[in-house]
Symmetry: C2
Subunit: 300 residues, 2 copies
């Protein structure tokens, strides 16, 4: 049936589906778009899943594989854009095989100069919704955390928060890097960070409390990374809730990240939070798009 | 007379004064506290200004040289703290010479667990004020930008913004690093960044506009660094003006940085801005502290 792939900046995740849309096999490699040279995408796909490609089934790939540095650029589709719109705008990848398609990303804002973009999260979001649900907020944390508002399987707006990227920069390259030790989860220190983000809503100054908390032993060196995480995620969630004004939310993330966001949403009084594994959401979204794009599959 | 030094994280700046407090000679070396090993501070000082040390005049050093990783730790003095308080709390540096002293930094917040600290900017601030001025806001931009409120030569409160550090991280190590080219001043792109900081006051999302502006050609690659600078400084100045509610301000900075802050303050409607060179402010502050700490100097 279908071979689906979530091909992002740092990882390639492949899903093999059965005729009912169940994932019967998965493969994951650290061969993201950053690691693959121009012209090498087909080679990498064949290397990782050549045995799955033999039967000529369609292949559908989402994520940064559709960016300028990917296999082929799949132009952003402007919002609002629904599941049908995206399924109708797949781009065929240059290949000897006729059946490899790329999911376009979405843009938000003026048509010529969008103010926000996503690639991959639209597919995860389509996989996370109940398609008849009137209004749904999906939060997909990551290097660039995406808050996506959907109305009946149609993305109406979204906003990107650079939470994960700033966390990585501060951990690895900042004045804090030499103060902190490790990045083990620490709900108590994370909570202190959440509280700090509310006490001082100005992120540029709030972040400096990491320095004083470390200097004066308020937060131990092993807990400073969790404190920074709490500060940043607190800042993100406060901003997102101001912008979207939604009472319930679905978080698409793995367990560790989801635990942080659950704690943050609870802190801000949002208790109606559903967690969905990011791989499961991507697979479900790819299947839903494929059902529309490749109608012959349905008949099986 | 006096040998003064502003010995920070990355640079050593030495000033030789005449009997009236005029700087008659300056030396600057990229030998900051980061570059000097423990126990090597006297050696570096002798290497750079041994000829100035021969006459046995007092030496007064401010900045990170008084931190844990410096020559000797000079404990933070809690705010409010005036020129007299700081001059009375100098710490003698371990040395064969009896006359080398370190200026303590300042802390703000609870005595046991301060929420903010500075080292060096207290000396620059003391050099920037008219000592009888009732209320004065001093802004010292840098890796960690310090906003310091003084009342008659007494620091009453201050706040640190990590503006310069975030700018450096985003330029060198972020997703933007490969999009941007150079960091030439660009007032028009800087202005776009200021405007963006007001349009979206949530820094985590506002920063992502750098990506879309680059992708869709709103800001050229050579201007993206100036755009990021405008966004960050806009975020800082907006936050600082909310916190301190002051109508006029003195900015302590070199010409390039000062031009950015002048543009930002003007954008936010603050036109009563005085600019003072950061080296001149440090030298003047060291002289003022020395006049109190070493009264014999006065008689000359």
């Amino acid at each position: 049936m279908l071979l689906g792939g979530d091909w992002g900046t740092t990882n390639l995740r492949l899903f093999r589906f059965d005729a009912k849309g169940q994932v019967i096999a998965k493969r994951e490699r650290p061969l993201g778009v950053m690691q693959v040279g121009p012209g090498d995408f087909e080679g990498v796909l064949t290397e990782v899943a050549g045995d799955w490609l033999e039967d000529g089934d369609p292949v559908l790939l989402s994520g940064m594989v559709g960016s300028r540095n990917g296999w082929v650029e799949a132009p952003y589709l402007p919002c609002p854009a629904g599941l049908d719109d995206v399924a109708s705008a797949l781009i065929r990848a240059p290949s000897q095989r006729p059946d490899i398609f790329i999911v376009p990303g979405l843009s938000y804002g003026p048509a010529a100069t969008p103010t926000d973009v996503m690639r991959g999260e639209e597919t995860e979001s389509f996989g996370a919704i109940k398609p008849d649900r009137v209004r749904k907020l999906i939060v997909a944390p990551g290097t660039h955390s995406k808050w996506t508002l959907l109305d009946k399987a149609r993305v109406t707006s979204f906003t990107t928060y650079m939470t994960g990227e700033l966390y990585g920069l501060l951990r690895a390259h900042s004045i804090f890097s030499r103060m902190l030790e490790g990045d083990a989860p620490d709900p108590a220190a994370f909570q202190l960070g959440l509280e700090a983000s509310v006490r001082d809503p100005d992120l540029l100054s709030a972040l400096f409390s990491t320095r004083t908390h470390g200097l004066f032993g308020v937060v131990a060196a092993e807990s400073l990374a969790a404190y920074i995480s709490g500060l940043l995620i607190g800042s993100e969630v406060a901003a997102g809730l101001r912008r979207f004004d939604v009472k319930d939310v679905t978080v698409i993330a793995d367990d560790v990240v989801a635990a942080n966001y659950l704690q943050a949403f609870k802190f801000f009084g949002v208790t109606a939070v559903t967690v969905l594994d990011n791989r499961a959401a991507a697979a479900r979204g790819l299947w839903r798009l494929a059902q529309i794009a490749f109608p012959k599959m349905r008949t099986v």
